[in-house]
Amino acid sequence: MKRFRLPAAVVVATALVLYASGLSGAAETVKIGIIWPLTGNAAAAGQASKAAAEVAADIINNAHPELGDLPLAKTAGLPNMGGAKLELVFDDHQGNPSLAQQLATRLITQDKVNVLMGAYQSSCSFTATAVAERYGVPFMVGESAAGNITGRGFKWVFRGTPIASDYARTYMRFFSEMKKQGKKIDSIAVVNENTDYGTSVADAIVDEAKKGSIPVAARIPYSASSTDVSAQVLQLKEKNPDVVIFISYTADSILYMKTMKNLDYKPPMVIGDDTGFSDPSFIPAVADVAQGAMNRSAWAIGKPGSTTYKINEMYKAKTGRDLDDTSARNMQSFFALADAINRAGSTDPEKIREALAQTDLKPEQLMMGYQGVKFDNTGQNILAATYLIQLQDKKYELVWPESAAITKLEWPMAGWKK
């Protein structure tokens, strides 16, 4: 008999808690369940994003008229729901996809969250979104980039962040704008490390280049653990493209920059696709030979007084650090989700889903360098994009698009000739 008493007590207690929370929360709060890796390998990214989500909730729940056109900043709470507040319920999936799946189920069935968000690692987003789809609860994928998260015919999954094809499209828009300005871009070369990351991004770039009829002079896959890249550099030297795009990890991107200097090869422009070019060891290692190399980031702190600058100040006050690209992309997705809940005017999941599907945020309503937030029928944000930044002296400066640029783009890159 003793074995049955404890579960019974738990059931009663749970029922009481649910009853109580139901009573107090029905009108005033909207519960957002968020699963991120708060411990484990990616804990740093998860914790940084958690802080960003908390800042976003503060902006929405309290009146922040100083933040311009950012949706829901001016008012306290959600105006269409009588000033209802957002309540965040965080859970830690530790980077484990099956745990992410369990937590999504628990958040829906036990915590009764109204919407879900997550999950950093693409593998975890992949499993958790399937749960949300099954229960019919809207799921906002904050920043996971794997292509297969959307496109499974799901109705309840939305993704705010740019993915590989968006980055590829951004590069093409940049190229066509440069061409209009009279820069010569007759061909490009794509150099990629040959695992999933490099291959998928390079595929997307080659696809988009074909559509934009920019010839790809060379596509060079290589292993990121290479100890020597001079053959690749000589191949580039022979093909002589106008822009070289590197999809590389850390040691290899440093090795490329040094080898290019050693073999006296300097294309008019080098673009690094984040990753190795964003590693903290990249700039100290090659700043004096890779002047003018470009990189991407959708987040920019902006000029003092701007909305993004103020958001960064709030984040900095909380964490002591500047907001990073990953957390900022999550924060933007969070704002898009809150905006849809407000427009739905209800916690009814179907109404929230419809509102999400009708989302149409304009660039001036965003904190990120996207062209807007608008979801296609797979749930992917089709207006997601990124800024381009350029290594000038010892740091990256935002140089494109011009409307957001902090300093002028230097073309061709100076490399070491400075």
Binding site: N194, I220, P221, Y222, S223, S225, S226, T227, D228, V229, S230, A231, Q232, L234, Q235, K237, E238, T250, A251, I254, L255, K258, K261, N262, L263, D264, D279, P280, S281, P284, A285, D288
Partner: protein, 285 residues
């Protein structure tokens, strides 16, 4: 012209491989002992160089000698505190002891230096020499020249000097050497010191050209074993030739077939050669 550049690049890379491998083949030649921690010795040589440059300043000569000396001492210490004892054990424990040492050194380096990549600040050795349109980066050139010198030096030491004869005597017959008044422990400690010292110099020279993290020993380690096996276990000149050949094949195949095929070509040729000549190019049958 491009082809000549590829060949020169391949040979310079090969010289680095040879430099990396000379210490490994020395230990095998002297003691019939495979040192799996050799790559980690090179890694430590790289960090010693970094510390010398950052803390004391100084050019390649300063950090090269410091790295060689520091690693020589480490080699002797490793022999006296570890290898001397496992030599009495079975073959398997000999293999596993240096494997364990490799992991210990690698993860200690992770702990102290973190997993971030580091590289030496630009040194006086950072230029490029242009000979009739063929470009030779100075760091690789210096590494290549020193690799050849070091190889000859080690070869002469082993074949022409008393110390060399004593080292060889111990490796051939420990008991008989003792009867001749040679102290085997002292000789073998010296062999470990020389081997690790060579690894230190290799690390210092590689640090000029490559960014690295504590796992660099792993990256180069496999190539080093292939170089030693191809050159013939225990043959110092063999390691030099094998290193140059592998560098050259890698360069040419990467240029002709694409970089992802270069290792396939190298290892296919390696397997074919071992099939024809199992003792390696210059090994004793």
């Amino acid at each position: 012209m491009l082809l000549i550049q590829v060949i020169v690049g391949g040979l310079l890379l090969g010289a680095i491989y040879a430099l990396f491998s000379s210490g490994l083949t020395l230990i095998w030649g002297m003691m019939n002992f495979i040192n799996f921690a050799h790559g980690e010795f090179v890694m430590l040589g790289m960090y010693v160089s970094l510390l010398v440059v950052v803390w004391l300043g100084g050019g390649p000569a300063a950090f090269g000698f410091t790295a060689a000396f520091a690693l020589f001492v480490l080699g002797v210490v490793v022999y006296l505190s570890l290898i001397r004892f496992v030599l009495r054990g079975p073959m398997l424990s000999q293999i596993l002891s240096t494997f364990g040492l490799a992991l210990l050194l690698r993860y200690t380096a992770f702990w102290i230096f973190s997993a971030n990549f580091v590289s030496l600040p630009q040194t006086s050795l950072s230029g490029t020499i242009n000979i009739a349109g063929v470009l030779m980066p100075v760091p690789q050139l210096v590494a290549g020249v020193i690799a050849v010198m070091l190889t000859f030096g080690l070869h002469l030491l082993l074949t022409k000097t008393t110390v060399g004869s004593q080292l060889l005597a111990v490796s051939e017959d420990r008991g008989a050497a003792m009867l001749m008044g040679i102290k085997p422990d002292r000789m073998q400690a010296l062999a470990w010191g020389l081997s690790a010292g060579a690894a230190g110099i290799a690390g210092a020279l590689m640090a000029i050209a490559y960014p690295w993290s504590p796992s660099v020993g792993e990256t180069f380690g496999l190539t080093a074993f292939v170089v030693v096996a191809l050159g013939g276990f225990g043959s110092v000149p063999g390691a030099l030739f094998a290193g140059l050949i592998i560098g050259l094949i890698q360069g040419l195949s990467a240029f002709w077939f694409g970089p992802i095929y270069k290792d396939i070509v190298v290892y296919a040729l390696f397997v074919a050669l071992l099939w024809l000549r199992p003792q390696g190019l210059m090994g004793k049958a």
